[in-house]
């Protein structure tokens, strides 16, 4: 699965996710990637999120919109909201995976409970940051 959240110079947020699903899946199984609110969400009022993980858990928790709701309605900063949903709630359910997220003010977060996640971020005038493993 791949995903992107972008903030443009007009202050607009967008999020997108694309995937091939899971290996050897059957019965027309659909994961969270095409499910708005679960694998992808964006609102200029809060944040944008793209997810990757075991989709059934991301769907039941509506992970992407849940993170944005915590930012919008409870005033959490983006990293805290992301960690609450991924490190606490998703992990407690037995789900695994991660997210990348971005607010209209340019705040960036990622959170994952797997050993690693292919991830990258950049802001205008800033240096690119690329990570793979959990300890970098």
């Amino acid at each position: 699965t791949v995903g992107v959240v972008a903030l443009d110079s007009d202050g607009n947020i967008a999020a997108g996710t694309s995937t091939g699903g899971t290996t050897a899946k059957r019965w027309g199984r659909v994961g969270d990637s095409p499910i708005l609110g679960a694998g992808t969400y964006a609102s200029n009022a809060s944040c944008g999120v793209s997810a990757t993980g075991t989709g059934e858990y991301f769907i039941r928790l509506t992970v992407a919109s849940r993170i944005c709701a915590l930012v919008e309605f409870q005033g959490l900063n983006l990293q805290d909201a992301s960690d609450q949903v991924i490190q606490d709630e998703l992990t407690a359910m037995g789900g695994d995976g991660g997210i990348v997220a971005l607010t209209p003010s340019g705040e960036i977060a990622w959170s994952y409970n797997t050993p690693g996640m292919y991830r990258a971020r950049q802001t205008a005038g800033g240096d690119p940051v690329v990570g793979i493993y959990g300890d970098e």
Partner: protein, 192 residues
């Protein structure tokens, strides 16, 4: 406040130091840098966040390293079934597609659903009919084929005791795949 910003993922899983060759790690890092470069090119020129999303994901959908587009994993039936979604935070408009098999860039079809239909989500054959009507680039299913994903799927089916599907029409001749690569691949890309 930044003028623009961009954050990208290429999948999560059991990705650990020492489990990946230096060459493969370098390939992934280069691919992630290239993804940032594509997004930066759009955003630095004043392009929209939606255009940046599409530009970044197009490259990843064409890159066999990632489980999206070319390089997608196989279903138990031996098919590549692709899903994508996109959402515009300015309007809360959104589009999604599920289970398409012949659309080169599913993210562009998701955007077309958002911008050129009154629906939010289309799936399977109907989604592909819409894609053709909208002039979205179509490719034969074999376009998405990669040997490592095919081998990974057959190993999974053998473990489950399920019948193996026929090799897809148009797929290249059988090539050898290193078993260490397969095991790493299965750990890294379990998700969708």
């Amino acid at each position: 406040q930044s003028d623009w910003a961009l954050v990208i993922h290429g999948g999560a899983g059991v990705i650990e130091r020492g489990q990946m060759t230096a060459e493969r790690e370098a390939e992934y890092r280069a691919a992630m840098h290239a993804a940032l470069d594509r997004g930066e090119a759009v955003l630095e020129a004043g392009g929209s966040a939606l255009d940046a999303i599409e530009a970044v994901i197009h490259g990843m959908e064409d890159d066999p390293l990632f489980n999206a587009g070319r390089g997608a994993v196989f279903t138990a039936a031996g098919r590549n079934e692709l899903d994508a979604s996109i959402m515009d935070g300015a309007t809360l408009n959104a589009g999604a597609v599920a289970g398409v098999t012949q659309v080169r860039h599913p993210i562009s079809l998701a955007r077309a659903v958002m911008e050129r239909s009154r629906h939010v989500m289309l799936q399977g054959e109907g989604a592909e009919t819409f894609a053709i009507e909208q002039g979205i680039e179509m490719v034969p299913p074999a376009w998405f084929f990669t040997e490592r994903r095919w081998a990974s799927m057959t190993r999974s089916l053998e473990r489950l005791g399920l019948d193996l599907p026929e090799r897809p029409e148009g797929a290249p001749e059988l090539q050898g795949v290193d078993h260490g690569t397969l095991e790493r691949d299965e750990r890294e890309h379990r998700f969708g």
